[in-house]
């Protein structure tokens, strides 16, 4: 079997090709959609000459990988769409605190207490409502979605969706476990076993009148409206009254890994991302809210500060996640 030896040699050769990254390049473990990250990164590379390798995956899987790899990781930064994952990594000690001067322009509620991660863009959990249906002006709270009269008329994502889980965590913390449990039970009945795997499909179903309302991240509504400007849908910012809990927010953010050997370079990238240009670009591609005070979001989006946001620290999204998952499982959400 003369081919075995070269084969083995070849395999060893391949094994030894360590991912030799140049001295002035960075590796990001990225759980955020490539298409939203690439434009900003390209701009950073253009300005600084620093190459960036995006290693895409699911945030949770990448975080698990980072944890197991320990000091052998090749990741210099970790980027996630969910503050829960960032806080989890922080609690595990996978990140290093950033220079406080770096993050001073980001409001404290959107970054870690110990500065191990910083939020870059925020999204709001809102209602999308069909403007031609009977429910056009009747909904003003996420809790209304559990109204028995809405049976078969609402759209929610399946319970493995990160934004959905984060939203439930906020409601649980702001409105209490029992109220949230009750609400989930109502949602489960109203969804009639049909849940969606994509927010965009919920918006589409509402626009087509198959559903009256849905629970989504705000930008999905504007994404749909950009393609179909006449779609009969509108955004409802829920739970605004004096007794309302406010809108649930979640942030996408970035952290520098503990074991990076290029902390200075990594801080350069973070500095760019929290700069005004970086902030605008990072948030605008997805119509999210920049976390830096004073940088406005896209004009079509309701301005930050014009409505009430639920008062739940982002860190809770990580710390209370298992409790949320327990609740979701107890109710048996599909």
């Amino acid at each position: 079997m003369s081919y075995i030896k070269p084969l083995i040699l070849f395999s060893l050769l391949l094994a030894s090709i360590a991912t030799a990254t140049a001295a002035d390049s960075l590796v990001i473990y990225s759980g955020r959609s490539d298409k939203f990250v690439k434009p900003v990164i390209a701009e950073f590379t253009r300005q600084t000459g620093i190459e960036v390798i995006l290693h895409a995956g699911k945030s949770t899987a990448l975080l698990g990988k980072l944890k197991i790899e320990g000091e052998r990781t090749s990741a210099d930064l970790f980027l996630s769409n969910d503050a829960g994952n960032l806080q989890k990594g922080s609690d595990w000690g996978l990140f290093r605190p950033m220079n406080t001067a770096l993050t001073k322009d980001i409001a404290p509620q959107y970054r870690a207490e110990d500065n191990t991660w910083v939020g870059l863009s925020a999204r709001a959990r809102v209602l999308v409502v069909n403007t031609q249906g009977p429910w056009a002006d009747k909904l003003d709270s996420v809790f209304d979605l559990a109204d028995p009269a809405l049976r078969g008329k609402i759209g929610i994502t399946n319970s493995t969706n990160g934004s959905y889980i984060a939203g439930v965590t906020v409601y649980m913390k702001a409105a209490g476990v029992e109220k949230t449990r009750h609400w989930l039970e109502g949602l489960k009945t109203n969804a009639e076993g049909r849940v969606f795997n994509k927010h965009s499909k919920i918006v589409k179903a509402v626009a087509q009148g198959r559903l009256q309302a849905g629970l989504v991240n705000h930008y999905y509504i504007y994404r749909h409206l950009a393609k179909h400007p006449d779609a009969p849908i509108k955004i409802v910012l829920p739970d605004q009254g004096p007794n309302g809990i406010g809108v649930a927010w979640n942030v996408a953010g970035i952290a520098i890994t503990k074991h990076t050997t290029k902390a200075a370079l990594a801080e350069k990238l973070v500095a760019f991302l929290v700069s005004e240009t970086g902030q605008k670009q990072f948030a605008e591609v997805n119509r999210e809210y920049p976390t830096r005070t004073g940088v406005p979001a896209s004009p079509e989006v309701p301005p930050a500060g014009s409505y009430k946001v639920a008062d739940v620290p982002m860190a809770e999204l990580g710390r209370a996640r298992n409790a949320t998952l327990d609740l979701i499982e107890q109710v048996g959400m599909p």
Partner: protein, 537 residues
């Protein structure tokens, strides 16, 4: 029937047997690393946690997983045996093409199947619109997010295995038995039930083993359809809660379930050995009547439409979109190259690694050899993400210098698909009548020469099949690749996953199409080898 291997074993030099056994044990030990990882992690679970798992999840998971496995097995047998029967026994226009059409679905990964079908069944998808045009309501469009949807997808993706093995068995089975039955006055139906089907049983059992193991380890389709099987639940434990211990506990139960199934299957197969004497006349194909031809092609056409036509049409139409928007750039070809490279190396390594295990079992049928054989299957029954984490932890702790390049990924996929290689080679060895080897030895060939000049040439077909099967599955592999690929090293499945999760269908489709195209040459190799062995008059 006397045990055919006994006289042969006595002539073997015990030292060689031991070194063979040692080699086989070495391979299996490496393959068992992920299992050790699972056992180690599940030992950390307290009794309380085990009880919690037991009461909260297991009944549902067991029911879902087993019912899915049974339904898919039935679906694959119906599709695979019916098509194999027509193709092996009737001569009709386009028969050669039909063989290809029945095998091509192997080139489409389950997650692509699931993605395509859920898209097609939406209200504005092709099938959804057809449904509405036929007078169905938008609310009554069949929902795929349940056991039936998962059954449909996994049957379409897996029946080709049954087809391949059943066709081989049908073409090789000889005429004499059927003629004898007919002389005794049996009708065609009776011949099928009482002669053909029993003769087919080992082939069907072997194929079902492959199918059921694919179902038990499938991650792509069930995660896309959110059907709670063991694999999906294990993944959710790991990704949602970072609860590796519960994930390991569930994995351990899944492994025991699969091993039980494998042992039963082996037991069932070992009791049935049919040696066909070479000189007896194989079954000639009857010319099909026009009516039969019509029926055959309606049935095969229907299967092809669902299992390959629709997916291909979908890929082509979206790829065209991507092409016309000039979205396919140099990077895309890089992904294709990465995929082919990993699959090629993994297939070669897996075949070489499988040889000692299969040899050892063939020559030394014993409790030890069976145990090794079954242990080598753990790769197939553990979910991909679990194998990936097991290998990751093992390499980092024991062989850190291997980490960072392709080695981790290669080791993981070889472990995952080693059972495919072992099964194929073992099946080929089983058909090797011991007398041939003994003849070689009696003519003065040493053990190595005998291996090189007698055994290997005779099992070449089995080795080629093994290579192709591993190649195809590696090409489609997603969960382990996602975790273990080197930084920035994307393969086609990884891109499909990334683009599809961003709903960039026009970018996911070319990658899926590329997978199909990349698989064609190796399928051709396998089919050519097959027709050489099955078409001699």
């Amino acid at each position: 029937m006397p045990n055919p291997s006994l006289p042969f074993v006595r002539t073997l030099n015990p030292v060689r047997l031991n070194s063979l056994g040692g080699l086989a044990s070495g391979v299996v030990l490496l393959a068992a690393v992920p299992l050790l990882f699972v056992i180690y992690n599940s030992l950390q679970l307290s009794t309380q946690q085990w009880l919690g798992l037991w009461s909260s999840r297991l009944p549902e998971l067991l029911w879902n997983t087993l019912s899915l496995a049974v339904l898919v097995a039935v679906g694959c047998v119906v599709l695979g045996v019916s098509s194999a029967w027509w193709i092996a026994r009737r001569e009709f226009p386009g028969r050669k093409l039909a063989v290809w059409l029945m095998v091509l679905p192997l080139t489409v990964p389950t997650y692509v199947f699931a993605h395509i079908y859920t898209t097609l069944m939406e209200e504005d998808g092709w099938l959804g619109r057809l449904w509405l045009a036929l007078g169905g309501g938008a609310d009554t469009i069949p929902d795929l997010y349940n056991v039936w949807g998962a059954t449909l997808i996994l049957s379409l993706a897996g029946f080709s295995y049954v087809f391949l093995l059943a066709r081989a068995a049908l073409s090789q089975s000889t005429r004499s038995l059927e003629e004898a039955a007919r002389i005794q006055g049996a009708s065609s139906l009776e011949v099928f039930w009482r002669v053909n089907l029993p003769l087919l049983r080992p082939a069907i059992a072997a194929a079902l083993a492959v199918v059921v193991l694919h179902v038990l380890s499938d991650f792509g389709a069930v995660s896309m359809l959110r059907f709670q099987t063991f694999t999906l639940s294990i993944y959710l434990q790991m990704s949602g809660r970072f609860d590796y211990q519960s994930a390991a506990g569930l994995s351990l139960i899944l492994v025991m379930l699969s091993l039980t199934f494998l042992v039963l299957e082996r037991f069932f197969r070992n009791r049935q050995r049919y040696y066909a004497a070479r000189q007896s006349r194989p079954q000639p194909r009857q010319r099909a009547t026009p009516l039969e031809t019509g029926l055959i092609w309606s049935w095969l056409g229907f299967i092809t439409l669902l299992a390959f036509g629709l997916p291909l049409a979908w890929m082509l139409s979206w790829s065209w979109e991507a092409w016309s928007q000039q979205l396919i750039d140099a990077q895309f070809w890089g992904y294709a190259r990465n995929s082919l490279m990993v699959a090629g190396i993994a297939a070669s390594v897996a075949v070489v690694a499988a040889l000692p295990v299969a040899f050892y079992n063939a020559r030394h049928r014993s409790l030890a050899s069976h145990t090794l054989l079954h242990l080598s299957s753990v790769g197939f029954v553990l979910p991909g993400p679990v194998i990936a984490l097991g290998i990751l932890s093992f390499l980092l702790a024991q062989l850190p210098f291997l980490y960072g390049g392709l080695a981790a990924l290669l080791i993981a996929v070889v472990i995952r698909f080693l059972p495919l290689a072992v099964q194929s080679i073992d099946a080929a060895m089983a058909q090797l009548t011991p007398s041939v080897e003994q003849a070689g030895r009696s003519l003065g060939a040493g053990p190595l020469e005998n291996l090189w000049r007698v055994v290997l040439p005779m099992i070449r077909g089995g080795m080629a099949t093994a290579w192709v099967l591993v190649f195809i599955d590696t090409l489609k592999e997603l969960p382990a690749t996602l975790i273990l690929r080197p930084t920035g090293f994307d393969t086609l499945p990884v891109r499909i996953w990334i683009e599809a999760s961003e709903e960039m269908l026009e970018l996911a489709a070319p990658a899926a199409l590329m997978l199909v195209i990349g698989t064609l040459p190796v399928l051709w190799i396998m089919m050519r080898g097959e027709s050489a062995t099955t078409s001699n008059p």
